[in-house]
Symmetry: C2
Subunit: 339 residues, 2 copies
Amino acid sequence: MPNATIRDVAREAQVSVASVSRALNGHERVRPELRARVQEVAARLGYVPHAGARSLSLARTSAIGVVLPDLHGEFFSELLRGMDREVAAQGLALLLTVLQDGRGLNTLAALRGQVDGLVVMAPQLGAAELRAQLPAGLPAVFLNCVPGLAGAALRVDNAAGAAAMVDHLVAAGARTIAHVAGPVGNVDAEERRAGAVAAAERAGVALTVVQGDFTEASGAAAAAQVARGAIRADALFAANDAMAIGALVALKGHGVAVPRQVRVAGFDDIPLARLVTPALTTMRVDIAALGARAVQLLARRIVAPAEGLVEVDPAGAEAIVPRLVVRDTTTETDRETQS
Amino acid sequence: MPNATIRDVAREAQVSVASVSRALNGHERVRPELRARVQEVAARLGYVPHAGARSLSLARTSAIGVVLPDLHGEFFSELLRGMDREVAAQGLALLLTVLQDGRGLNTLAALRGQVDGLVVMAPQLGAAELRAQLPAGLPAVFLNCVPGLAGAALRVDNAAGAAAMVDHLVAAGARTIAHVAGPVGNVDAEERRAGAVAAAERAGVALTVVQGDFTEASGAAAAAQVARGAIRADALFAANDAMAIGALVALKGHGVAVPRQVRVAGFDDIPLARLVTPALTTMRVDIAALGARAVQLLARRIVAPAEGLVEVDPAGAEAIVPRLVVRDTTTETDRETQS
DNA sequence: CTGAAAGCGCTTACAG
DNA sequence: CTGAAAGCGCTTACAG
């Protein structure tokens, strides 16, 4: 048998569908006796309101969409975890959409009527492309996207994080830094590179940029160049932990002592970072907090789409600043220090 | 301005809303000239059908729900990645719901009208609880759930995987195997133990079960017993990689040569497995494939809810068989072989 | 406090 | 091939 509808409940309880709706939605002007009867019948029939019909009537779905460029690795599971935490607290549902290169251009547009707003992480798309794809009038919060989009923006302050790491390496004794950059065109990668370059300049130490692509293999390749002297460096700072770990393993393979001969540092603080030997010094980005904050901002925008008060930072994006996590690849001591 | 509706398009194109619907949905009986005009107007107005209204009319949402017990770690991101792959291929959307202990009992029921079916992973719930929560008539596929639910079931074939590993160890020369088991009561652990025991019997080699609890420490403790001869073994097969890695480190600490004196093997192929020295031989569970397969089964059930043909294995659950990944802890060579 | 009715935005028999 | 109309399942002014 199909699911019971509001009419079934109304008939069974001998009231109008309007009364069923009011009774079940907790409206005030309902006789207690009627409310009790309706609730009893609804429970007995296993009635659950049809979400689609409800959202059509209310012009509100109570769902938000999250658009991600990929789903590989711990970063995304942490982000989703943070979002889910907040989404559950707000009584919302989460619709997940991965926007990979090949996927249709109307993937986002098709979300109209399915969600009340969007958290979008699309570092690979330009502002124009993104704007063209987004359903008009749908509140949105952008994570690590190009600036200049209509919506709240939230980002990780990669430049500040990278600069902090360079400062730490210099304090630890480094004088010639090799920075293994992430893929060209990737916003995070570019910001980390820029922050590292600027900090090295300020500190007056040499910094060479080696092109990488966020994979362990590319980190290993960069380390090999350092190991055989093709690149001179007493510190290797990779733009993410995966590359740093690839480099770490490669350096050990080449018989280079870490951190004595070459200091190694990463970015992200993935779980593996604590488990490699020596444990990896890195920048911790509280990814779950980033996700939770994004949902929070979106929820406010959904309630008050145009209110200026909602704008966190009208000038630009609100920023999450990563924290330095010092482990064994940059210092001889074993103590883990967090600043 | 709000989003354009089908009426706006109809008015602008000077046709009926019925024609707009037919033209845009690719119905056959539409004059090409009319179709072209409607498409032009729809594009100009940026018209996108309202998903909620569409699903109310069609009694189909083109979305599926995935219910997970948690979101921590690589396992879930891999699972979601596999699901997303298949979901995108099928033109569906994915609604994510985390069903943690505290969360309301009607979390699942509220999905009615929002999804066409559910992939449920709820190892913490009994069959009765689960049945009570699921909206009646909603197709479902269960992952690692208790048996006996109305729906397709899918699971990892732990026993077959463990048996394959024992066979590999025997082929590599092992004659006395110590199996470090996982915690009592854990389904995965029990199945792996049973598979290992059966395979050892078939192969006619000795196998001792040592109790562990999936932690590195318990693996190290088991290894210590092997190292000091309390347990005689020329191979140590741990029920997961964490214990295997703990054992590996402990064996090295006790001066036992791996794999020459004692072969070591794990289960899961966590990222760390490739990074330890020597690299760990293990069983790879293709989690993404598990997720993709679940969505595939669900999609079929949605199309043909009651067809017997759709039933993969009416007797029980369809199983994903892990693959053997041979690395350096069981062979002297360095080559990584996958079977 | 309650019911009849309109409406949310679509799709699809039903006539023509 | 096309339009007018009914209907999907809900909510909420509008009367009473």
